[in-house]
């Protein structure tokens, strides 16, 4: 880094952008890992149903399978938009 770069406006370093993007995508991919293959499609169809009644974002519906000693829990999380 040269002395002149201190005079220029600060730009975010690309490595920190990379780290942030990776943390988000890796967390998302891990949440569906190991679950049944139908999960993504289930999520998609649930989203369509919810959207018939409430306008929600793409990532408003969260589907997750948790394994607890001996039983599996299918967890659905739907975030509704704030009331106007």
């Amino acid at each position: 880094m040269s002395i002149f770069s201190y005079l220029l406006p600060k730009k975010e370093k690309s490595a920190s952008v990379a780290k942030e993007r990776l943390q988000i995508i890796v967390a998302r991919e891990r949440s569906t890992r190991g679950g049944p293959d139908y999960l993504p499609q289930l999520q998609e169809e649930l989203l369509m149903v919810v959207r018939k009644y409430v306008p929600v974002d793409q990532d408003a519906v969260n589907v997750q399978v948790d394994r607890d000693s001996g039983c599996e829990i299918l967890e659905l999380n739907i975030t509704l938009p704030e009331q106007e």
Binding site: S5, S14, A15, A18, V26, R30
Partner: protein, 270 residues
């Protein structure tokens, strides 16, 4: 007791074969009887990196099919005692590699008294990569400090935790350690490359070693001599450290910071 180690990454071109060759050579140099197997059916390359390409007569698929016995298939290294290479087949038939066949080969190697079997995985998450990983007791995940490689490594870690024999038998995850290759401290310091801490934090696995970006790696592959034999080089020494850590020794990580710049260089961006 034989330990089977898979060298894997998901992404291609990050240094799996270079690492497999260095790791196997390093283990053999320390007196451990070791075989390194190329699982990349159709795209044989370990033989070139090990410098034995002209000595290949039989390959892994020949041994599996019984066209040759294990002793005929193994190539004994000429530089290092106790080091053997089993090359991949160049057949385009990906189904040639069966789990039963591979198990038979691994059992044969165990009977020969191998202490380590290094499985050089092909890229991807297809059958070849799954076969290379299936019987592993331990994994080395080779990653470059770059987004696509880190993401693919994370996917591979997910696969390792469910698709190995140990996982299927309920013995849990096999230990997997990170080997970060093509690391450039200068670029990390200037904020253009993910740091070793960044990658460790994202993948959440133990660090086996960091191999600096080095001219020595290309020189080694050019001449068909595993880079770990180039003892004067930074990459060779970094692999040497990684092998020591692999065997349980404690070694400080080296080559993580750039060589100091002069005041002049810092002022004017040398």
């Amino acid at each position: 007791m034989t330990k089977i180690v898979v060298v894997t990454s998901g992404k291609g071109g990050v240094g799996k074969t270079t690492t497999s060759a260095a790791l196997a050579t390093g283990l053999a140099q320390r007196g451990h009887k070791t075989t390194v197997i190329d699982f990349d059916v159709g795209l044989r390359n370990l033989d070139l990196i090990m410098g034995c390409e002209r000595r290949v007569v039989y390959d892994l698929v020949n041994v599996i099919n019984g066209d040759a016995n294990l002793k005929q298939g193994l190539i004994k290294d000429k530089r290092v005692e106790d080091l053997y290479i089993l090359p991949a087949s160049q057949t385009r038939d990906k189904d040639a590699l069966t789990l039963e066949g591979v198990e038979k080969v691994l059992d044969g190697l165990k009977e020969m008294g191998m202490e380590y079997i290094i499985c050089d995985s092909p890229a991807g998450i297809e059958k070849g990569a799954l076969t290379a990983a299936y019987f592993a007791d331990e994994a080395v995940v080779v990653t470059n400090p770059e987004v696509s490689s880190v993401r693919d490594s994370d996917r591979i870690l997910g696969i390792l935790s469910s698709k190995t024999r140990k996982a299927e038998q309920g013995e849990g995850d096999i230990p997997a350690r990170l080997l970060l290759t093509r690391y450039s401290p200068e670029r990390v310091e200037s904020g253009q490359m993910l740091s070793v801490e960044d990658v460790k934090e994202i993948l959440a696995i133990d660090l086996l070693g960091v191999i600096p970006e080095s001219q020595a790696v290309l020189n080694a592959s050019n001449s068909g001599s595993p880079v770990i034999l180039d003892r004067d080089s930074d990459a060779g020494q970094a692999y040497e450290d990684a092998v020591a850590r692999f065997l349980g020794e404690t070694r400080e990580h080296r080559f993580l910071t750039s060589t100091k710049k002069s005041l002049f260089g810092r002022l004017f961006g040398g």
